[in-house]
Symmetry: C2
Amino acid sequence: MAATMKDIAKRTGLGLATISSYLNGGNVREKNRIKIEEAIEELNFEVNEVARGLKTNKTKTIGVIIPELNMTFCTQIITEVEDLLRSRGYATIICDCRSDEKREEEAVEFLFHRRVDGLIIMPSGKQGKHLNKFTRAGKPVVLIDRKLKEIECDCVLVDNEWASKDAVERLLAAGHKRIGMIAGPQDIYTAKERYRGYCTAMENAGLSAEDRLVAHGDYTIESGASAMKELVSQNPDMTAVFVSNYEMTMGAIIEINELRIEIPGQLSFIGFDNVEFAKANIPRLSIVIQPTQEIAGHVSELMLRRLEENGNQGERETIKLRTSFVEGKSVKE
Amino acid sequence: MAATMKDIAKRTGLGLATISSYLNGGNVREKNRIKIEEAIEELNFEVNEVARGLKTNKTKTIGVIIPELNMTFCTQIITEVEDLLRSRGYATIICDCRSDEKREEEAVEFLFHRRVDGLIIMPSGKQGKHLNKFTRAGKPVVLIDRKLKEIECDCVLVDNEWASKDAVERLLAAGHKRIGMIAGPQDIYTAKERYRGYCTAMENAGLSAEDRLVAHGDYTIESGASAMKELVSQNPDMTAVFVSNYEMTMGAIIEINELRIEIPGQLSFIGFDNVEFAKANIPRLSIVIQPTQEIAGHVSELMLRRLEENGNQGERETIKLRTSFVEGKSVKE
DNA sequence: AAGTGAAACCGAAACGTTTCGGTTATGTTT
DNA sequence: AAACATAACCGAAACGTTTCGGTTTCACTT
């Protein structure tokens, strides 16, 4: 059906090796170059990447595992990563593991079996043993957002503790003392960090981080709403609240509307991620935003570099990025 | 390095063909089965999908092209499709073409070159000639959401005209006459359909669909905001507005907040897609929602079926699905 | 115990590349 | 014009599967 290098060789009268050399940027005599290019044009030949992959043991494909494609934080990063990798000739196979450890492992298996050249993963579980399959095979692994113990690899993180501390300090500076927090699952790295930031800020201000001021959700909209409800009912004196991811921010707002609580009159509010939603709300929400574009850039760059290094890898890197703060009207002085 | 079938053959004393047969579900004598399984276990052999792909001319990979991974409508569908395909052993290569026709064509090239087995695409352009590369090669193409002229393939659509007509009729039933619409780009299939639905509803009610009651955005948040501004300034007497996609709904709401317009007191509002956002707003927005899960189901099912049919394809199918309506508090009687 | 049909097995050739080691062509130097 | 260094070329083997057509083995019959 489709033309092969053999056809090109036959047509031009040249050898197979010469065609291969040409295709891989080798030197070829001018007149032969022309002949080859004509033949390629005429037969509209395209290299068979599968055959090439068999021979070179490279698929030019990167696996990406994320907890939820539906979380804007993930989507924003993925969009960018996919773009950057594709512009360098790499395809991206995305696996959404629905924040499920079991499914994450399956995805790792799936991708390994597919022989992707590298793995980019925002881990759902807290341990990384299953990822060693890749490192052992000399295939680079890049972690996003969450660090893992049992594996040595590159890693692009956000300084979550700082982000959270900063947000809470802003509330403190505005005079708030009874500050609540809607935290994430206690077993997730980023959630723990954000919680720690809250505690640090409170303690630095001479306040204790009381248990009842902290409600734990699981990063979903629903959990954000119910955490909000819990906080309000347990803390009639609470004057401000900090919510630590986008989905829960939305959930908290839904609940606040439900309860007819007025922001910032009755309650000051700082949310997380996604400027657009924050802007659409009345009043505009003050939020912490993560540098997704920058994350994507570092992740892709690290991956591509490791891929080039081809096994003889240099020292592993961990990059930590700062969040920024977008001022809204949801914090009362 | 990694074990191959040859190793298994050597180890078990069986022939290569027998191993292959076993791996592909063929029959093997009990004692041999055991020997093979032991060998596989011991050498932890895994079929090399690349080699298999070379021989079978199948990559077990589906290409997916979408306009924006960042649009929830897309993400919701993709998440589901990816899941369904992977559960049947197919990998998914996603290409985000940023709503750009040029980039869409590049993505088609890229995926074709990668020799994916099939293509799922939510087209950005309005013509589908470039997709014939796939059909000519006997590779199935499934269109999502937008129908194209120059290509014959399966297609999963939403009844946008009906959706829009239904929404507008609800506004009419609530007594509104000066109903505005924020429509999408006039060259996009779905946008045209939604616009037509609006016109039909208005005309059926004995009203004309005046030009100045319709503002066109380009499906982005920003354009939604500016379209809203335009509508308000041009139509002081407008009492209701219908916005025809999620991102523009958000934009419109941002602008409405900016302008301090009260919903539904001063303006009744019906938006599109994404229940969560609608619920988070005060008051809850009434919205049209699209059956993304159902779309994903049909798309995957069609693709898998065509893949099995393997060329001797039956009649092409076009499936059209209904939207549903979620009642909020944003429409005044 | 020989004969039988079906099931299980087998070797070798393909799939379309890359790569190794060796050969030929080119053009420069003497 | 012969000798040479270098660049360009080449054939064949390899990558790890599947598959074709043919052979062996098995479990029954007779």
